[in-house]
Symmetry: C2
């Protein structure tokens, strides 16, 4: 096990109707900016419930944070925070709204050009403090509700940032608030959680047994409840299990003390930026291809994954790995998500453009051992066609 530091101060408030506790969780005197995305939180009444629960606090609202939230949109919210003297940010939505809110919390306290903050780890001098954040999660997927990172779109790229200042003070996880999600978004959430987990697990052995077993537990749970929760959105238990797995898939728990990959995510970001493919769908396309191309480097962990997640214990090693990859692909397809680039209209003649974008964004040494050069990324993309 590698040395590590783990500190996650977010308070999770989990269960049916817990949004009623906003009154206890948000400071009494706070002037609150409620941030949200499209109209669904209005349409299904979530926003009304939140407003009501906040009692007589002064409230301001900022809607329209888009999927893959854009720097320009978020900077308009920063102006609102400053102009209105906001003291507390309440994100009501999924990963995009939460990620965007984190960026706003930092940028509102930064004197210089906020583009400086689009580095992976802003220096304390750049963002010496941040507005406190709370979240009401409406889409179980990104884990943003219990971590310190976010992804922002800007100038045709996606930028990842982390800061310990943006851990939410609290996150309300009410599975019933997610019952109205369209099936495609739920399927995306299952896949997003699955890939977060394997990016921290299917790497190279590191004698971190608790982390491995916990990752395997998340994967097995997703395989068990994924199809159910897509097909039966109001099955509380299935949705609750998805929701808690999504949070634990990216709150640091399975990622401490182990190597991490993130190749799939980094190439996936380019596919979203260039072609507008949903984040989770880019992951479903790329993950089987990453494993096929990097089978030798990941052999030991792929065999462990085959055995402990898919119960594949018999036969030759390569056959077990092939079967594990095939079952993973089938699992994604069964959720209604196509796993080939061509299904999204991306053909071989576009690969140059994707590889060039990776190079432009400095993504030239990806993977747990920094071995994924642009040449390897190209092979992965070819495999994913």
């Amino acid at each position: 096990m590698y040395n590590f530091e783990f500190h996650n101060p977010t308070r999770i408030v989990f269960g049916k109707d817990r949004f009623k506790e906003l009154n206890r969780l948000v400071p009494d005197q706070a002037k609150v900016l409620i941030l949200y995305g499209g109209g669904s939180v209005k349409q299904f009444g979530t926003l009304d419930k939140v407003r009501q629960a906040l009692g007589d606090r002064r409230l301001v609202e900022f809607g329209g944070i888009e999927p893959n939230p854009r720097y320009s949109t978020l900077m308009r919210a920063v102006e609102v925070v400053r102009d209105e003297g906001i003291d507390f940010l309440l994100a009501v939505g999924g990963g995009s709204v939460m990620d965007g809110t984190k960026f706003i919390a930092l940028a509102a306290n930064y004197e210089g050009n906020a583009e400086d903050l689009l580095t992976s780890r802003p220096k304390p001098a750049q963002a010496p403090t941040a507005h406190p954040i709370g979240t009401v999660v409406t889409l179980p997927a990104t884990g943003s509700e219990m971590n310190s990172g976010g992804v922002i779109s800007h100038r045709g790229g996606k930028f990842v940032f982390f800061s310990p200042l943006v851990y939410p003070r609290f996150s309300i996880l009410d599975p019933t608030l997610t019952f109205t999600l369209p099936p495609t978004q739920v399927a995306n959430g299952v896949i997003d959680t699955f890939i977060h987990t394997v990016e921290q697990y299917v790497t190279v052995p590191a004698e971190a047994r608790f982390q491995d077993r916990t990752a395997e537990g998340i994967l097995r749970t997703l395989i068990e409840i994924g199809p159910t929760t897509v097909a039966n959105p109001t099955d509380y238990d299935a949705r609750a299990n998805l929701m808690w797995c999504a949070t634990n898939g990216l709150n640091g728990l399975i990622g401490v003390g182990v190597p991490q990959d993130w190749t799939t995510h980094m190439i996936g970001h380019e596919l979203t930026a260039l072609f507008g493919i949903d984040h989770a769908k880019t992951l479903a396309i790329l993950q089987p291809a990453v494993w096929t191309v990097r089978r030798e480097q990941k052999r030991a962990k792929l065999l462990q994954y085959a055995e402990r997640v898919w119960d594949l214990r018999e036969g030759a090693e390569d056959a077990r790995i092939d079967e594990a990859i095939a079952r993973t692909r089938s699992f994604f397809e069964a959720l209604g998500v196509a796993t080939r680039l061509q299904a999204y209209g991306v053909t071989a003649d576009r690969l140059d453009e994707i590889v060039r974008a990776l190079e432009e964004h400095g993504m030239t040494a990806l993977g747990e051992k920094r071995e994924v050069t642009p040449e390897v990324s190209r092979r992965i993309l070819e495999e994913a066609l």
Copy 2:
């Protein structure tokens, strides 16, 4: 899954030689009370290393916190905290030192009779604040390094208390600091962690799949590395895995949203108080007996435990349960820990006394459904003879 709240603000600093970071972790201006138990932290140089790492801060020491720490001992430390104007408590030791330090942190801030705090959840008015705590863990077992509870001995009984004020600010987990432990204490740590886990897992089904899988991961890890880490104390990986499992076994992670039992612990506390049997050994004695007596109530989870922890999938249900209980007992025995009361000199004529102590301490409705009456406890004890 039941509704739950999860908030664990402790910072974990894990790995070899991390005690050097005490200088970063303890506030610069703090006057620090270093608390420890017997002589082993002196003998093996841990105390010297800690002092050195704290630089030129003002230090006071309080040693002699015994196993099953006593109220009277801890109240002497409270006087030191008050007389010396201490601002920070640094526990260097195992569960007893950490639990004792938590109690001191509360009691030093309580105006009335500190015995009032020996309730399971002190009221905020009783302990409105607490001294900040850090820990340097020398014995992986109790999980006290990342939770808000403690157990204190007083007037012939053991008292459990919890307060969110006593989460350590940080805990340093350096597996190498535990290499000098005697094998019996390491075996106790393995068993303590195992029983913490099953008390939160072998109950009744609650559709909490992440929690179940994570608990199973801890149990399987302990089975894998337990005998190794007892036999080869300097095997870093084995000890690191024990240490991280011990923390995660009782930091809330596997216990949120699920029923919990704690029968074994509560009867075990009486065995320690009456006969001086090591805490972990009381658990090893009682757990097989609890499962044997409460097999019907726990049938579904015992079968799940048999299947997922011991790979017992074939044969009649009762045969699988019997085998799982037998393997659990063999696992404890293979660690060098006897699992029958009589091996510790406790015979049938002492059972009345134990049951009476349970009644006197209000332990008359134990278990995940409060079904363990004194009569059931007696049957468990008879089974454990």
